[in-house]
Symmetry: C2
Subunit: 345 residues, 2 copies
DNA sequence: TTCCCATATGGGAGCGCTCCCAAATCGCTC
DNA sequence: GAGCGATTTGGGAGCGCTCCCATATGGGAA
């Protein structure tokens, strides 16, 4: 019984119905659970499904039900974005989607607004997840016109009416200060992103700075913010400047992924021991924090949770349940060996 | 004109037909190019498509044509696999697929054989790409029963009848030796994977070793293979042992990702300068080679090409064109600063 | 003019499923 | 024992597209 023509040999719902001695609609209802079926019938149908190895035709289903059970996921595959974080996020989205009977279609950032239109317009996907959202993202107007629900990872400049999820960067900035304050530190500096980042791009840098500043004020901690270019040389200069400005400095927070390791190295070269003389808390992916010259206490992007929350929100929207516009995930701080109780000089 | 019911407001082919004053079948043929259409008609139809913003319904298309224009891509999202390589591969698959009018459905390794059956059985995907294939992979029997074409990344123990793509590891092993031989080295050791890898798993370790050995013989280079556990301590011990065994050693090849950096560090600690005293060639992803204590001359997995070749092979199979069972991509060696001409002692 | 072939388009069945609209069956009550 | 609600199932139109089977039109040869 070789199959000559690829595909047209699939078991169909009418085959199952005949095998079980019921009508196709009954098989359909057994599958969807949209009406009550007697226990006896349900069992017979299920046995036939198993016996014949029936799998419903996705296209036919999508056509008839107006639901494809597919989510589109648009990922940044460009360099610069920290890859393991993206991957972890993607894995979480796929796993969570599968738990809700959905599959995931992968789109690249390059497809842009047109890609979103195509996938939504063709009814290939029921809903969309868009990662790496910029402040003025040209995909956002498109998302607004689409009649499909979507969730953004990150916050654009005008998030009204959009469903957005992200780490609560303000709380993250505050959490770093609180951790250090609890260890007795009274003077903490933030080494941040390059100056231009504080004006444009995604806006999270400002929020970290705000949380940092507020928590500093609340805990009586002297807290100064230093933007810094993302080069090892700039890191070294910043380290020198910080020590010159604040001889009493005992702790820093770093929010600038590329220079986490160089900055720590620079302070060590200047004769400071970490954590004995200087505590360091980084805001960066775990991979970086773990691999720096030493394991660093850090706050990471909760990629896993971000992914599953995004899917859960989409499922709620698809079911017509109300969802909050903004979801801010609480930061979690992992204590490693770069932060310690402040030692009196 | 607010859309009340999500989805059922899409422009359909009959709308386009009416707008252009032709029949739906003509619109379909304009889109598919499966029969000649007069230039005048084609233009009118195209204008109507643009004017109405028509996008064919993917499900309807899949149902009628028995083609979903979707490829399933099963990726290993488990740790251990080098993430940037997987990501690069995925990006390449998506980009190439899009160039062939296909989309990509993302599956995780955990879905396993059942996931492949589901996606093929539901006609969600026309074809499958399976990455990270093990020697005795339980997805392979499933792939054989499926009536959809597939491409494997990697070679299982019994690849007959399957289409497989991978780096030519034998050639890669040889290329490393040839590079070093050309630089005048006459004694080269291979620091390989842990011993157990040489027995089970994916078989590529053996092939590297074979190419290494053969090229050594062909170029009159003394070449010894040392399996090595993937820990920094083991790397250090191996470095010491190599120097003890071969005082005349002037070059090594490393094929064991986690210990690339530790091994180089170990040799330096033992007083050898790289590349003055010892040339090093690594077989590892570029990310690792670039970030080791120094930029290392290396041979990488050509993830980008692997992805596009896999898609091209699938397209050929879908079109009924014949394809080779095995595709071995030629290795490419990137010269960095860890390999140099052998200096006479 | 007539016939034929080439070129260009239309009509509509059917892909496999869902879900609306019955219809059938079975106690119960009155 | 006729009527009625409750429970369970069947029938089949229709989702939007593709592609087989015509049909229409035009020009050239006989």
């Amino acid at each position: 019984m070789p199959v000559t023509e690829r595909g047209r040999a699939l078991v169909k719902i009418s085959d199952v119905a005949r095998h079980a001695g019921v009508s196709p609609s009954t098989v359909s209802y057994v599958l969807s659970g949209k009406r009550t079926i007697s226990e006896d019938t349900r069992r017979r149908v299920q046995e036939s499904i198993d016996a014949l190895g029936y799998t419903p035709h996705a296209g036919a289903r999508a056509l008839a039900s107006n639901r494809s059970n597919v989510l589109a996921l648009m990922l940044p595959l460009r360099p610069g974005i920290h890859v393991p974080v993206v991957m972890q996020f993607a894995a979480s989205v796929v796993t969570t989607a599968r738990a809700h009977e959905h599959d995931v279609l992968l789109l690249t950032q390059e497809e842009g607004a047109d890609g979103l239109r195509r996938v939504a317009g063709s009814a290939l996907a029921d809903a969309l997840i868009v990662m790496d959202v910029q402040l003025h993202d040209d995909r956002i107007p498109q998302l607004r016109t689409l009649d499909r629900p979507s969730v953004l990872i990150g916050f654009p400049a005008e998030p009204d009416g959009l469903t957005c999820v992200d780490l609560d960067f303000r709380a993250a900035g505050a959490l770093c200060v609180e951790h250090l304050a609890a260890l007795g530190h009274r003077c903490v500096d933030l080494v941040g992103s390059p100056p231009e980042v504080y004006e444009r791009e995604t806006g999270f840098a400002q929020r970290v700075a705000e949380g940092f500043r507020e928590a500093g004020a609340a805990h009586g901690v002297t807290s100064v913010i230093h933007p810094c270019e993302a080069t090892p040389e700039a890191a070294r200069r910043t380290a020198e400047r910080l020590l010159a400005l604040h001889p009493e400095l005992t702790a820093i927070v770093v929010h600038n992924e590329p220079i986490v390791a160089p900055l720590v190295a620079a302070f060590r070269d200047l004769g400071l021991r970490v954590p004995e003389d200087l505590s360091v808390v980084a805001l960066c992916p775990d991979e970086i924090a773990e691999r720096a010259p030493m394991p660093l206490t850090s706050v990471a992007i909760p990629a896993e949770e971000l992914g599953s929350r995004a899917v859960q929100l989409l499922m709620a929207k698809l079911d017509g349940r109300p969802v909050p516009d903004a979801t801010l995930l609480p930061p979690r701080l992992t204590v490693r060996s770069s932060s310690a109780v402040r030692r009196p000089a």
